[in-house]
Amino acid sequence: MSLEHFISEAISPWMKEEGPDSDIVLSSRIRLARNLENYNFPDFASKEESETVIRKLHEANGDQEFGNWGEFEILSLDQLKPLAKRVLVEKHLISPHLAEQSKYGAVMLNEDESVSIMINEEDHLRIQCLFAGFQLKEALKLAGELDDWLEEKVDYAFDEERGYLTSCPTNVGTGLRASVMMHLPALVITKQISRIIPAINQLGLVVRGIYGEGTEAQGNVFQISNQITLGKSEEDIVEDLRGVVLQLIQQERAARNNLQQGLKIQLEDRIFRSYGVLANSRIIQSKEAAQCLSDVRLGIDLGVIQGISRSILNELMILTQPGFLQQYANEMLNPDERDILRAALIRERVELEEA
């Protein structure tokens, strides 16, 4: 394994698997925030402390038992070029915080990129597990096992009363953030989403764009996650989120049905127009590309468009991000150049599928 392996491919190996309910739920993610006792939290730690944390993880990684989850690679952020960092962010393997603000950050990745352990992010450790489709429980189980394994090797900062201690009070307790990435085009088209989001917020869950905090929803893809980490068990947190996601799946399916029955021709028109844009445009901005990809993916899910694989949305959404385009072009591009390359890549990919 090498860095190349992680930044050359747009879709991670785990994404190629088709998970349950993957017509609507693109991916499930569990993140556990953990800190080591006796060291200041990363943003307040000395160079020595930060290096010690990384060394401890290297030692743990050298251990044979880690073989249970495949081979792991530890990448130091200071050895990565800005572009490589950006690509890892676009693949959700590291957070923007780790890429931009962490002084002594590192990340530990397994071969199929389903596990990423960020080191010296806001907390000493951020264990992240990604699964295709709707598999929150499976992801929680895996994250729990990795957590148990790490706990054997390092001393966690844990308090009987407050639970796992984290740098930010919003993560204390379980340190658990469970989230799902959902494609909800029909709820957006029928404008139900604007009613649904406030309702979800009232349940203590958060709806965001695909790149987390402070990003807008591109291509009708929404990230839904828990806000509360204290005072509930991990299982309850995941169960509460699951309950809401199940309802959203039902509502999205119902809205898709209604659209197909009531506005069949309008819907098909929209889908094929978007398909036309993707197949023919010479210049395309990321926002328009995301919208058209969403339409085409809906067309695939509804059987209106045939012969194109579902993964096109997941793959092109990442491949057409600024970092990836530049990685692909192997040079820095200005926004105009990116829009041209984006259009070319999409055309190529669509033609490939048609052939």
Partner: protein, 178 residues
């Protein structure tokens, strides 16, 4: 004025870049500014921590309007990492795990606000360093439910629970005795 990059949205960010004495003016919209990402300060700086510290500043105990206790609060400082309570309130983050102990007396209202009224961990307990805690929590839970049974006058169930508690306590003593 429209954004010079996308020509679609109104320009909301205006700035001048000077490189080697060469001046370039930019007028762009927020969307394109985000695309430019790291090159632009201020385009993506609002974070959860700022929001949180806003909440903390709303606390009369630190906003300065109160109280004779203020002088005492302002000297709360973590001996391990040197973080003061005021710094913590400003940035919304702890410096080290020891801060939790030092600021403990002030944490409940903050945690209640961000965690829907909760202040106590109910989740996973680490196996190695937390051994013993599991039994302790089980005992606490049993005692709680016994009280509830008594209040609702379900004495049979209360008695059953009491027996369970006794059994657990006995086991605990035996383990210690070994």
């Amino acid at each position: 004025m429209f954004c010079q990059d996308c020509h679609e949205r109104p320009a909301t960010l205006h700035f001048t870049k000077i490189v080697n004495g060469q001046k370039t003016e930019f007028h762009i919209c927020e969307h394109c500014a985000k695309e430019k990402g790291e090159f632009l300060p201020g385009s993506n700086t609002f974070s959860i921590h700022q929001l949180l510290s806003g909440l903390l500043y709303g606390d009369p105990a630190i906003s300065g309007t109160a109280s004779p206790g203020l002088s005492q609060q302002s000297v709360l400082v973590c001996p391990k990492c040197g973080m003061t309570y005021q710094q913590f309130a400003k940035i919304g983050r702890f410096g080290c795990s020891h801060c939790y102990e030092v600021f403990d007396s002030k944490l409940d209202p903050i945690l209640k606000r961000v965690h829907g009224g909760n202040t106590k961990h109910e989740g996973k307990i680490p196996k190695r360093i937390g051994s013993g805690l599991q039994e302790k929590r089980e005992l606490e839970n049993l005692k709680k439910s016994m009280q509830q049974y008594i209040l609702s006058e379900e004495f049979e169930k209360a008695a059953e629970t009491r027996d369970k508690i006794r059994l657990l306590e006995k086991q605990k003593h035996q383990e210690k005795g070994e």
